[in-house]
């Protein structure tokens, strides 16, 4: 373990990878809380899958494989995916889960098709686009990490600025509307932040697994606290630690890919929280229930 920590500081590549995955874990952890609380956990999944066609299209249109170009394309189709979900779900006869499933599969299918088509080209200039499927954290360089930090930092800043509005919107959207807040605009803004969180993680974790980094840290943090502020901070910390841990594990055992390792670390944090949190954990609830039954039984015997 100490060896791993030392590597994180001394090895240039590993340090970049760990910093990058920690940043994306923190950003997606913080922003994912609102998706989880608004019962829109799957929206992140639809957005990240919808990012794939954008990546390929961006390359087709510009011929550039620079990360900002591809990621901008990803953001555009990811946002379109989210817009498609809300446009479909607004029709009363299509439920939100149906809309999510439709958008996810249609956009992802289109992305895979585009990817297959460009890979059939005779030249090799498209090589590497498919790394966005599962991410390639090892390829992160310092500039990528700085960009991720800047973009994610702006998203977190926006979250902090409109904190009370987002809280009111998430708890009671009707009350926000009656108070005169532009709820549609706030809703779009929150969705946009979710798109940003997805986009920040695409390079390292990929479109397929990204959404679990939005959900797992938030769901884990919810087990430990009953305050929104603490939940968001805790989710960011859990996300960042999962990122660094996943990077360290895959750095020590080079056969293990970073993205999946990060996702597994976040999921492990969730499972531990679900089982062992003092107030909401399954184990402590069982223990309390057993203690209560014992007490009631002895009281019943005594009378």
């Amino acid at each position: 373990m100490s060896e791993a920590l030392q590597l994180l500081w001394t090895d240039y590549t590993l340090r970049n990878v760990a910093a990058g995955t920690a940043v994306l874990g923190a950003v997606s952890g913080a922003l994912g809380c609102f998706a989880v609380l608004r019962r829109r956990s799957l929206l992140g999944d639809a957005v990240s899958h919808a990012a794939l066609p954008g990546i390929v299209l961006a390359w087709l249109l510009t011929g550039s494989k620079a990360a900002p170009v591809l990621v901008a394309g990803a953001g555009i189709t990811g946002w379109l995916g989210a817009a498609a979900v809300s446009a479909l779900a607004r029709r009363e006869r299509i439920r939100e889960d149906t809309a999510l499933a439709l958008v996810l599969s249609v956009f992802f299918g289109a992305g895979l098709m585009l990817l297959t088509v460009v890979q059939g080209r005779p030249d090799a200039s498209q090589a590497g686009l498919d790394t966005f499927l599962f991410g390639q954290a090892a390829a992160l360089v310092e500039r990528d990490v700085l960009t991720m930090g800047a973009v994610g930092g702006v998203a977190v800043l926006v979250l902090a600025l409109f904190w009370k509005e987002f809280k009111l919107l998430s708890f009671d959207a009707d009350a926000a509307a009656v108070a005169g807040y532009p709820v549609k605009l706030l809703d779009h803004l929150l969705t946009l932040l979710l798109v940003v969180a997805v986009v920040v993680g695409l390079q390292a974790v990929g479109v397929v697994l990204m959404s679990s980094l939005l959900i797992a840290p938030a769901a884990a943090a919810r087990q430990w606290t009953n305050r929104l502020g603490r939940m968001v901070v805790l989710a960011a910390v859990i996300g960042a630690m999962s990122g660094a841990l996943g990077a360290a594990v895959s750095g020590l055992a080079p056969g293990i890919p970073t993205g999946p390792a990060v996702v597994l670390a976040a999921t492990a944090a969730f499972v531990v929280s679900l089982l062992f949190s003092p107030s909401r954990g399954l184990v402590s609830r069982r223990l309390r229930a057993a203690a209560r039954d014992r007490r009631l039984r002895t009281e019943g015997d005594a009378s």
Partner: protein
């Protein structure tokens, strides 16, 4: 601009009761979901300073009426005024208490925090609630008898306590019109007494309180003004004048009885509308 003047003149001459002192005035309101009208051509003037009930069977459009007053649902036609002005211009004078079940009570927040949400609009963008807002929230919580539960997580509250939290959030807004959707639904007797005392206090302060209500039995005790609704407005006015057996029959389709009439009704077990007869009070 000109249009507005013309419209105003038109309604002033066409309304039977001049509505100059109406706290809430509804004119020709029609609301539809898909093809089905939920509210049909409703005209309603609620005078200032009354404690008013809206009653009617399930599906009568009571909640829809409240929501269209508050611009939460679009209307096909109609004009709504609060003290003579559109809702948009009078937001700060209007507080809304939605049905308890309309929010997720497992949301990670506390009682005091939910009540503080009532101050957000006054604060405006970017500013955070401070000492003044927390004091206002605590004052409101004291009025509903919940001050000792201020730091409680909201998922630990009973139904009656949840209702009182919502009420406190509305009190903080210091509004002149209070609009409430079934505040007595599924609450304990203590909460019901607390709420009705509070509503009467609000009326005593000259505010107008508009309540969607289910329990016909308590209407004469609790309210001084009532509107009977069943998609169309059946009757509206002082309880003594319009809360009659005949109007109730018109609203509920002729199968309802209420305390004070000797009219025989079918047995409570068989009558599908028996729930409208209200609970037996202790």
């Amino acid at each position: 601009m000109n249009d507005d003047v013309v419209k105003n003149r038109h309604t002033e001459t066409s309304t039977v009761h001049p509505a100059t002192d109406a706290a809430v005035s509804v004119h020709d309101l029609t609301v539809a979901y898909r093809e089905q009208p939920v509210l049909w051509d409703v005209d309603l003037d609620i005078p200032s300073g009354v404690l008013a009930a809206i009653v009617g069977p399930n599906g009568a459009g009571k909640t829809t009426l409240l929501k269209s007053l508050l611009d939460l649902v679009p209307s096909v036609s109609g004009r709504i005024r609060f003290h003579g002005e559109p809702f948009r211009a009078r937001r700060r004078d209007v507080a809304y208490v939605p049905q308890r079940g309309s929010v997720d009570w497992d949301f990670p927040t506390t009682v005091a925090d939910v009540v503080t949400m009532g101050t957000y609009r006054r604060l405006g963008w970017l500013r955070r609630p401070g000492h003044t807002e927390h004091e206002a929230a605590m004052t409101a919580l004291r009025r509903v008898g919940m001050a000792d539960l201020a730091t409680r997580q909201i998922s630990e509250l009973s139904g009656g306590q949840q209702q009182r939290v919502f009420l406190a959030r509305a009190l903080v807004q210091d509004a002149s019109v209070y609009i409430m959707d079934e505040p007595f639904q599924g609450v304990d007797a203590t909460t019901e007494r607390t709420i009705i005392e509070l509503l009467k206090e609000l009326r005593g302060e000259g505010r107008t309180v508009l309540v969607v209500h289910h329990d016909l039995q308590t209407v004469p005790d609790y309210f001084d003004w009532v509107a009977l609704l069943n998609v169309r407005l059946v009757a509206a006015g002082p309880v003594r004048e319009v809360f009659t057996q005949e109007n109730l029959r018109l609203a509920y389709g002729g199968r309802v009885g209420f305390a004070g009439t000797k009219e025989p009704t079918s047995g409570p077990d068989k009558d599908p509308t028996s729930s409208y007869m209200g609970r037996i009070r202790p």
